[in-house]
């Protein structure tokens, strides 16, 4: 299922990435970069929700705290990509490790509330630790990203960087899902008791999934401040966690690539409707409700059933929870 094995798909993706880089303007490139970054974080959430049935309402924590870590580090050490990106991934992983340790033995609503609590704790710390995080104002005036001699501060480089990250992260997530570890994750969603009887350790599987998802979300978070030239407490807030779940459902749970469609749809509605009316939240809520009512399998699921039997056989394994 890796892109390398499907040259046609790989070519299509390459063209799809290249086209905007050639023609889109500054604003649209930054907007697309944001879609790809948020989409990457949402895709990592899909590993937990779609494959593991672990509905986390705190996924903004690894994403947002990694964004802060990258921004704070860049203020004193510069925006070296080779520093910022691994630091973000490591931060996301560390945050996810804490969350993973807490949720190991819970499930369903307890898991939802525990992740929500942890996310709120993260937000409280970011919001009140003004000396380091800037509190409600957040952090501005970040140095530009750089890779060796090249400066990656213009919209086109940022867009290509985000696209590269999205592609790499999707490849990693797909290989995770296809590997024994990812299949075990599906197993504990479907039949936890039997997995235990087969000798699988449910806590270890969950913890591994949390680490993988946290690392990907963290890597995405690391780029986020440099695209917006700003990072604020909203990037850790639980409404972003909830929005990520919304995006995931709009895109389609369990498909991985649907996450990008979901984040594109959501951010487009938010950006364009908010420029016409103050009531954009109303529209966002409506989109949300209509998705659940009309397209419970998301855009990805809708496309799939349009294409019909073609995709059905191949993707039978990764239906969402």
């Amino acid at each position: 299922m890796l892109l390398a094995h499907r040259p046609a798909a790989a070519g299509l993706v390459a063209v799809a990435i290249a086209l905007p880089a050639l023609w889109a303007g500054e604003f649209h490139l930054r907007f697309l970069a944001e879609i790809l970054i948020i989409g990457t974080a949402v895709m990592s959430l899909d590993l937990l929700v779609g494959f593991g049935g672990l509905v986390s309402l705190g996924h903004a924590a690894p994403f947002g705290l990694a964004a802060y870590a990258a921004a704070i580090a860049s203020q004193s050490l510069g925006g070296n990509l080779l520093l910022v990106l691994p630091l973000g991934a490591a931060t996301g992983m560390a945050v996810a490790a804490v969350m993973g340790a807490v949720i190991l033995r819970t499930s369903h609503l307890f898991l939802l509330i525990l992740t929500l609590l942890l996310g709120k704790i993260a937000w409280e710390i970011v919001f009140h630790w003004r000396e380091v995080t800037g509190g409600a104002d957040g952090l501005r005036g970040l140095p530009p990203l750089s890779l060796g001699p090249w400066e990656l501060s213009d919209a086109r480089s940022l867009y290509l960087l985000a696209a590269g990250l999205a592609l790499a992260a999707t490849t990693a997530a797909r290989s995770f899902a296809a590997a024994p570890l990812g299949r075990a994750l599906i197993g504990i969603r479907e039949q936890p008791l039997r997995m235990t009887a087969l000798g699988y350790s449910i806590p270890r599987i969950r913890f591994s999934a949390m680490l993988a998802a946290g690392a990907i979300a963290g890597a995405a978070g690391a780029l986020y401040p440099f695209v917006n030239l700003y990072v604020g407490p909203q990037s850790v807030h639980w409404t972003l966690s909830a929005t990520m779940i919304v995006m995931l459902v709009i895109g389609g749970v369990g498909s991985l690539w649907g996450a990008f469609l979901g984040s594109a749809a959501y951010l487009t509605v938010q950006t364009y409707v908010s420029s016409y009316t103050d009531r954009w939240q109303l529209f966002v809520g409506l989109v949300f409700v209509l998705t659940v009512l009309l397209l419970p399998a998301g855009i990805a699921g809708g496309l799939r059933s349009l294409v019909g039997g073609w995709a059905h056989g191949r993707n039978g394994n990764d239906r969402g929870a």
């Binding site: 819970t106 307890f110 509330i113 942890l118 704790i121 779940i245 939240q281 409700v289 659940v292």
Partner: protein, 289 residues
């Protein structure tokens, strides 16, 4: 001494509010396995009703039944569509639907009532302070504690001690059997949801005198109510009481002890609690196999 007493009463009044809000959430959760994230909207609607009612000059005590009625009406409409179709769906889908609705209602209420903080003009009977060991304490908070106690007991009697409560509980454990007895379980579930929404509205009306009413309060209250219900162990009556006390006291006292990181401390305590008791304070014992 008096200071401690006042803080304990503060915590109790907050707990009473959490109890009423949490009970609304937990009756639908425990009885119908339906998780309603729009419950915060019912609360805020109740708050706004109370603010406008107190300002209107009509008999003040009618504000509470009015808030109950307004939220219950909203609940009844929502129950017909779309809630009814979601009772059997997964929690994830229920969460998404009701969260989406809460976003819509939040925006509608901001549209209708404005974005500013509205504090109600409390009726004279509830204004003022009483002196407890020489320390002044707002009378209104005592009123909240009393109201929470009375309504809590009434609800417990209704669900645990009446035939109607028995029908509700039976509908949950064996819907087919109850239908076979000639009872329309759809109407039973609708009634439970209307009751839950009404509870949300009346707790909003009570809370308005303490927390005021403003956009975003719906989410804050919802999250605290959710934590209350879950910390209590999902749905048992005693559990929700225990959860409300724990959350109310944790938040009140962490504000005293760690003013800067009050919420972080309280949430950490709650997370620790759930770590130690993964199924909440009062959990029905379940066998795995």
């Amino acid at each position: 001494m008096g200071y401690a007493l006042v803080q304990i009463l503060n915590a109790l009044s907050f707990s009473a509010l959490l109890l009423l809000t949490g009970l609304g959430l937990s009756v639908v959760l425990s009885l119908m396995n339906f998780i309603n994230l729009a419950h915060g909207s019912f609360y805020l609607l109740g708050s706004y009703v109370a603010v406008y009612w107190f300002a209107s000059g009509a008999p003040w005590w009618l504000a509470f039944p009015m808030a109950f009625a307004a939220a219950a009406l909203a609940g009844a409409l929502l129950e017909r569509f779309p809630f009814r179709g979601f009772y059997a769906r997964t929690h994830l889908m229920q969460v998404l639907l009701t969260y989406g609705l809460s976003v819509i209602f939040a925006d509608l209420m901001r549209w209708g009532f404005g974005a500013q903080i509205l504090s109600p003009e409390l009726p004279e009977a509830l204004q003022g302070v009483v002196f407890l060991l020489d320390i002044p304490f707002p009378l209104y908070r005592l009123f909240i504690i009393a109201a929470g106690l009375v309504l809590g007991v009434l609800l417990w009697l209704l669900l645990d001690r009446t035939l109607w409560g028995a029908v509700v509980r039976a509908s949950v454990s064996d819907r087919g059997m109850v239908e076979a007895l000639g009872i329309d379980t759809r109407r039973v579930f609708a009634a439970v949801l209307v009751l839950s929404a009404g509870l949300g509205g009346i707790s909003g009306a009570l809370g308005a005198g303490m927390l005021a009413a403003y956009p975003g309060l719906d989410e804050e209250v919802l999250v605290l109510a959710l934590i209350t219900v879950v910390a209590g162990g999902l749905g048992t009556f005693r559990g929700t009481v225990a959860g409300a006390l724990v959350v109310g006291f944790a938040l009140t006292f962490s504000k005293l002890w760690f003013p800067e990181f009050a919420n972080a401390a309280a949430f950490s305590a709650m997370a620790a609690l759930l770590l130690l008791r993964p199924n909440g304070l009062v959990a029905p014992r379940q066998r795995q196999v």
